[in-house]
């Protein structure tokens, strides 16, 4: 065989390889997702992912259920440190600083090539973007987002002589209504509490509702300074404690999250503050007519946002990053966002999702779904700082100490601020 023909054969083989690769070379993406709202959400994610994969044969998406939010961040960080990160994941918006510090994720600005892509970063509600941007860059795309709202039992309102269609508008009304709604039996034992604000595990989230209504923020946008000992924060905590101790309208001590909806269904509490993620659950299971309203105002209306964002991970090829971004664009597009909202109760994170026919039909049939969206106007970013896990657990400990009566609110918060300062000093 001559030298020339060898080259020909070689070239042919290379060309052949190229052709085969062109057909078969699909981009593989691994996608971690948490589930905080029950099995149905996992099915919806799988359904949407399969639909995308069917329409885009050049992408393989391996959607991996990764447990609760807490489990998902643990699993993801372990994988990142072990050198096999997923390509994309839904993780709490408040973990953004942690992921940046681990150098695990990239900014969406780095993959947004066209003008259309860049416009996407502006398509979402500003309240959700507050937790998704820092230093002028966007690190998260809102997806599984929620906000707390007030649910009330209309039958209980009627029974207490209140207008069943008017929820309390401010703190004074909330206390006054709750007093009327709290029922005691002959021995003085409470059979129905007026109000239930769950405080187990992560009390800071609903507490942030109170602080926002008291017109104060808990942490700055750079995530390196907290405000825990501000007099307005102390005032908010005092109010929360007073609900059980002074006004006696809320069950004293730590109130469980998981059992809150059940207690509401059973008539053990006439009003509850909890996530919009519960909307579908309450709609399916409440044995009485119920109302959904914004959290009551004090100095202003206010609520934190919550839930998870999409992140793209650094340690992937450029094709994978681009494919991840394309998938995120598709799954957060108005039509898909609407389906996700209807299936789970999460708040569709962009205004145009509420303009789709699917969504319009849904809210026409079930107007309470609109409350969470309308409240977004007053919503602020969920508490998020560098060393987020440590800072929130400092605040949680302080809140628990005050709620259980171990410490005075002012004293507890002052200590928390001191501890937080010590940790965040090096980030300023």
């Amino acid at each position: 065989m001559s030298f020339l023909s060898k080259i020909k054969v070689g070239a042919g083989a290379i060309a052949l390889c190229g052709l085969m690769a062109g057909n078969a070379q699909a981009v593989d993406l691994q996608f971690f997702f948490p589930v905080a709202v029950g099995g149905k959400a996992a099915d919806t994610i799988a359904e949407l992912t399969n639909e995308y994969a069917a329409a885009n044969p050049d992408v393989n998406i391996d959607a991996v259920y990764a447990g609760s939010y807490q489990d998902t961040i643990t699993k993801t960080l372990t994988a990142v440190r072990g050198g096999t990160p997923p390509q994309l994941s839904v993780i709490l918006a408040v973990d953004m600083f942690t992921l940046i510090e681990e150098d695990a994720i990239i900014a969406f600005d780095d993959v947004a090539a066209t003008d259309e892509d860049k416009a996407l970063l502006k398509a979402f509600y500003p309240a959700f973007m507050e937790n998704s941007q820092t230093g002028g860059k966007t690190y998260g795309i809102p997806y599984q987002r929620s906000t707390p709202v007030l649910y009330w039992n209309k039958d209980a309102f009627k029974e207490a002589g209140l207008d069943p269609n008017t929820p309390p508008k401010n703190w004074e009304e909330m206390v006054a209504f709750s007093k009327k709604l709290t029922k005691r039996d002959a021995n003085g034992n409470v059979t129905q509490w007026g109000l239930r604000i769950p405080s187990s595990g992560f009390p800071y989230w609903l507490f942030q509702g109170l602080t926002t209504q008291n017109d104060v923020i808990l942490a700055n946008n750079d995530g390196n300074e907290t405000n825990f000992d501000d007099p307005k924060v102390v005032e908010a905590l005092q109010f929360m404690v007073d609900l059980s101790t002074k006004h006696k309208v809320m069950q004293p001590g730590i109130v469980e999250w998981g059992t809150t909806p059940k207690a509401f269904f059973e008539g053990q509490a006439a009003m509850m503050w909890t996530s919009t993620g519960n909307l579908t659950n309450v709609r399916d299971n409440a044995p009485f007519p119920f109302g959904v309203g914004m959290l009551p105002a004090n100095k202003r209306y206010g609520a934190p946002t919550g839930g998870g964002n999409f992140y793209i991970f650094k340690d992937s090829t450029d094709e994978q990053k681009k494919a991840s971004f394309d998938f995120i664009k598709w799954i957060t597009a108005p039509e898909q966002a609407a389906r996700w909202t209807i299936a789970t109760g999460y708040v569709a994170p962009r205004p145009d999702a509420w303009e789709t026919k699917l969504m319009k039909d849904y809210v026409a049939d079930f107007p309470p779904a609109l409350i969470a969206r309308d409240q977004l106007e007053y919503a602020v970013a969920e508490l998020s700082t560098y060393q987020n896990q440590r800072i929130t657990s400092i605040l949680n400990d302080a809140l628990e100490a005050a709620i259980t009566g171990k410490k005075d609110p002012a004293e507890a918060l002052k200590e928390a601020q001191k501890k937080a300062d010590r940790i965040l000093k090096s980030y300023r």
Binding site: Q30, V35, A36, V37, G38, G39, A41, A42, D62, V64, Y65, A66, G67, S68, D71, T74, K75, T78, A79, R81, G82, G83, T84, S146, G201, W257, G258, T259, T260, P261, K262, F265, E266, T274, S275, G277, N278, T280, N281, N285, P287, G345
Partner: protein, 272 residues
């Protein structure tokens, strides 16, 4: 004298019944909740309608059949691995002398003090280096060299009289023969007790399996169970208790069947 005796026995019986009922209460609650519709979860009514719907819903919420198979393969794999490795290690610590023996044994004991959760990242890197991410072997391997198992078997082997070993040697048995014919049979209660602890621990383990696996083909039942613990939406007690009974059922039944042997083996092995 006889009065005093009765008084003691009465207190003992009372205490045993009290503890027994206390231990059994959650299971009774789980059975009650799982077999009745959701609205009876916190209300007791003898005439409440019975239903198996919760079990059906729970079974359909995740591919439990596959998860069960995975869990059974996992605990079997771990148990066999632990038995082989711990037996050999314990034997050499008991009957052989070699340089560094004490230091090595101290290292084994040190393992008892380390929480496995601290090692998650390190274990993950090792499994990745071995190319085992997302396999059942990866869930089990970090637990095979069990310090607890080695320690327990060594203590048991130490109680075996030297004379038995010498007699076996006179009969012509080699080191492996002695281990197999003298030590292992005499340590049977320890094996049974340790096996029970190991199986129930790994049956219930959650975080490490969740982290190191990604697919239905490798994940154990606990990962399937976790889908019901949805804080954002409130917990549906009926389904979660049905799922819990379902996943812990095989262990519970096995325990009830072999209860006498287990209790005896615990008493003989000295773990209480």
């Amino acid at each position: 004298m006889s009065d005093r005796f009765n008084y003691d026995q009465f207190l003992n019986t009372l205490g045993a019944w009290f503890l027994g009922i206390l231990w059994f209460l959650p299971i009774i609650y789980a059975v009650w909740t799982a077999t009745h519709p959701g609205e009876y979860a916190t209300r007791f009514d003898l005439l409440a309608p019975l239903t198996l719907g919760n079990f059906v819903d729970a079974w359909n919420a995740a591919p439990f059949a596959r998860y069960f198979l995975n869990t059974i393969m996992l605990v079997t794999f771990i148990l066999i691995g632990q038995f082989v490795l711990c037996t050999l290690a314990a034997y050499s610590f008991t009957r052989f002398s070699f340089p560094g023996k004490d230091i090595l044994f101290a290292l084994v004991l040190l393992q008892l003090l380390v929480m496995p959760d601290i090692l998650i990242v390190e274990n993950y890197s090792t499994m990745r280096a071995l190319g085992l991410i997302d396999t059942i072997a990866a869930i089990g391997l970090p637990y095979i060299a069990s310090g607890f198992g080695i320690f327990l078997l060594r203590q048991t082997f130490k109680t075996v009289p030297k004379e038995l070993e010498e007699a076996a040697r006179v009969e012509g048995a080699g080191p492996i023969g002695i281990l197999w014919k003298v030590y292992v049979p005499l340590a049977k209660p320890t094996y049974l007790a340790y096996g029970l602890v190991s199986v129930s621990h790994h049956w219930n383990n959650f975080l490490w399996p969740l982290i190191v696996t990604n697919s239905v083909e490798t994940r154990p039942v606990t990962v399937g169970l976790s889908i019901f613990g949805s804080v954002d939406q409130g917990i549906d007690w009926s389904i979660i208790t049905a799922a819990t009974l379902m996943t812990s059922g095989p262990l519970l039944i096995a325990f009830l069947l072999f209860q006498r042997q287990f209790v005896q083996s615990f008493m003989r092995a000295g773990i209480k």
